[in-house]
Symmetry: C2
Subunit: 263 residues, 2 copies
Amino acid sequence: MASTPTTAPEFPHHSVSSSGASTPSFSPLYQQIKGLILQSLQAGEWRPGELIPSEMELAARFKVSQGTVRKAIDELAAENLVMRRQGKGTFVATHAAQQVQYRFLKLHPDTGDLQKEGRAQRSILECKRVRASAEVARLLQLKSGDAVIQARRVLTLSGTPTIVEDIWLPGHAFKGLSAEQMGSYQGPTYAMFELEFGVRMVRADEKIRAVLPDEEQAQLLQVSTSTPLLSVERVAYTYNDTPMELRRGIYRTDTHHYRNELS
Amino acid sequence: MASTPTTAPEFPHHSVSSSGASTPSFSPLYQQIKGLILQSLQAGEWRPGELIPSEMELAARFKVSQGTVRKAIDELAAENLVMRRQGKGTFVATHAAQQVQYRFLKLHPDTGDLQKEGRAQRSILECKRVRASAEVARLLQLKSGDAVIQARRVLTLSGTPTIVEDIWLPGHAFKGLSAEQMGSYQGPTYAMFELEFGVRMVRADEKIRAVLPDEEQAQLLQVSTSTPLLSVERVAYTYNDTPMELRRGIYRTDTHHYRNELS
DNA sequence: GAGTGGTCTAGACCACGCG
DNA sequence: GCGTGGTCTAGACCACTCA
């Protein structure tokens, strides 16, 4: 059925490669299926944590074989957008109730143990509506002067203030976000974003530098202004590579380190 | 043929899950095939950059279907151990002649462009045979006092000394490594390790901190001792998770940053 | 026992690289 | 035109989960 479907498919099969075209112009079926599933995820047809239809059902819906759906889901699972569980089904990934508490936080305690040094204690210093500076606007793909929510908080690990973070969020998507909301929610902030605003962060880029703190940062972290600290600038993206958060964090690295695995 | 092979296979098919056993004790065929291919890679049956047998040939050799070999190779490719090229074949991955010049170096220039700011200029300060300290021995899984090669070098990017690195290598595997050898080789040092010592680094762990340089480091990087710098401790591994290099780098981050992608 | 994802197979055809 | 990896299919059976 691959080459001559009798029932009209809603998506192009193998589009004939145009003669002198320069762009790729060829997309395997499973990529098209992946795109369709992605659309459903993005549209909220299935919410974070929920079960999506079985491979057989999706195969029937899209009029392809189970193997093709499988390959599409394989890629989505590799990108951490869904989670497969043998015997149960495939679930929409969520930052809540996950295997690791903070998926995007790569700061680990020096002393062996995993990141289970108790939950990080959050302290929200401010959360206000402001206008985007040129740089914030650029990184969030907004226009200068657009409304953004700006928040500052301190994370305390094992009783030591270790991280001070400034967070910028597009105003339109996070309308009404309050300091109370940020402080009271138990669990990852990204899980709260899913629940309260329907915004799922699926990937992020970080730029890391060594810096000295300014007076205020030094005071918040209880270190001197000559203590070297890690500066971590993170841009987090939802589906479609749309940036939805800018985060500038300053990390103490006297008892913790940023861990990275290369391959 | 999967369940009742008539010709005796050299590897266990589905080993019957022992009754009250606690360990997994079940390995899919493709994982066993992957293990066999891995052994050949490790044994040097095919050298870095070389073509490995086609999927059909391997399927015949191992008496399984092409699809099973494909899945094994898929995983090896995902781990960057081999590289597939449609129409040509599957090649053993190499640090030489790769798409990115330095696969494990995550330092990028701030000003947009890719890492093509010209090649890094290397300056080897020393390269000597010493005895492993307790900590070096622990990280390289050697015994305290075992012979190790210790080297120090400075990398200059765009005319600015940006990185000073101390490198420790197990003496037994890198016998005869000289400062000349480290300095004269064109291209990634890891490529030289492949060529000269048959040691392939396949993955690495990094621990990152912010530090202040000591007098010597400051002088080498032409900064003051109060300039915050990135400390990057890397342990690089060959096959079988065997550590083969410890590297302690100090990075200037005034014109560059450490880039990381999370997902 | 029914349903899910996971493995394995065999065969067909497609896109690519190269002689 | 041939060989390579890449896609797609259809069907069988296995391992896991849960009622």
